[in-house]
Symmetry: C2
C-alpha cells in the first residue's frame, strides 16, 4: 500500500541509533520506530528490520542500546543510515562510542541513551518488535533533538503564538 | 525509575490523537507513542494506558484511528490531552471530525489519518500495546507537524548547514 508509505512520511520521528552486540561483534542502525512503553517498570520498544545484523545481534546477545541523536550528531545518523561518509574504521568511527565487554555500544554525545535487556521479541512479517527492559539511562541534553520528517532530517522549533 | 521519565523527555515525538469507538460511543487521547511497524502488510502500533476509555473502546470495537496532528491544530492536541479549553459539547467539539457508524472518528485536518483494525493487543503492566492493520490512509499535509519534546509542544525547523 503506497499510500501507507506516503502517509508515514508525515509522521515525524526522533532519530535514534539502535546498537546491539558486544566487544567487537557489534552493529547499529538509524531508526525512528522507537517509543516509550511503560515507566513502571521502565520499558521501551523498537521495531527493526529482521534481516539486518543489528537485529541478529540483539537476539543473540539479548541486549541493545537506544541512542537518541542530537542535531549536532547528524553525521552519526547519516553513517548508520548508510548515507554520508563512513571512515575505513567503519560506522563506529563516526562519533565517540563507549564500548564495553558486556553491553551494546553507547554514543557518549547522545541526548539520552537507554541500555536495555531484551524482554521479548515478536516477529511480524518483515520486522521484529523488540521490547526492552531499561537497565541504565544516561541523560545528557546539550542541543536540540534530530528529527526525521518527509524524507529529510530536521530540527525542532518553538511554536509561534496562535 | 525517575531517570527513565527524565530520559524520555528527550525523545521527541510526533503528536497524534488516537480515537476509538463508533457512533456516539467514542473517545480519544493525545499520544506520542505511535510508530510504523511494517509496510507490507501496512501495520502500525500504539501504546495506550489501559485504564483509559479510549483503550476500552479500542478493545470493544476492534478499531481505532491514528490522527497525526499539524501545528495549526495545537488546540485539538491540548483538548485531547486534558489541557486547554474544552467546549460544552466535549473534546470532539474542538476541530472538525468525521464521524461514521462503523469507524473511529477521523480529524479532517490531520496531516495523515490511519484507520486501523486491531490485529492484536498485548497488555504490559500499565499499558496496552495495540497493533493495527491499516485499512485506510487519508494524507493531507498542509502545514508542519506538531511535536512534543521536554514537556512542551513544538514545531519543526530546517537544519542549519554544519
Amino acid at each position: 500500500m503506497d499510500q501507507f508509505k506516503q502517509g508515514m512520511r508525515q509522521l515525524a520521528g526522533a532519530v535514534t541509533v539502535v546498537t546491539a552486540g558486544k566487544h567487537d561483534d557489534i552493529a547499529g542502525l538509524t531508526a525512528t520506530a522507537v517509543c516509550s512503553l511503560t515507566a513502571d517498570p521502565p520499558r521501551l520498544l523498537a521495531c527493526l528490520n529482521m534481516n539486518g545484523v543489528t537485529f541478529e545481534l540483539l537476539r543473540r546477545h539479548g541486549r541493545f542500546c537506544v541512542n537518541v541523536i542530537g542535531e549536532d550528531d547528524l553525521r552519526v545518523a547519516e553513517a548508520f543510515a548508510g548515507m554520508g561518509h563512513v571512515p575505513p574504521t567503519g560506522k563506529f568511527g563516526v562519533g565517540e562510542w563507549e564500548m564495553a565487554e558486556d553491553r551494546a555500544p553507547r554514543l557518549r554525545s547522545a541526548l539520552v541513551a537507554f541500555e536495555c535487556k531484551v524482554h521479548s521479541v515478536t516477529m511480524l512479517s518483515t520486522h521484529g518488535l523488540a521490547i526492552g527492559d531499561v537497565t541504565a539511562v544516561h541523560v545528557a541534553p546539550h542541543c536540540g533533538p534530530l528529527l526525521y520528517h518527509d524524507g529529510q532530517f530536521a530540527g525542532l522549533a518553538g511554536l509561534l503564538p496562535a
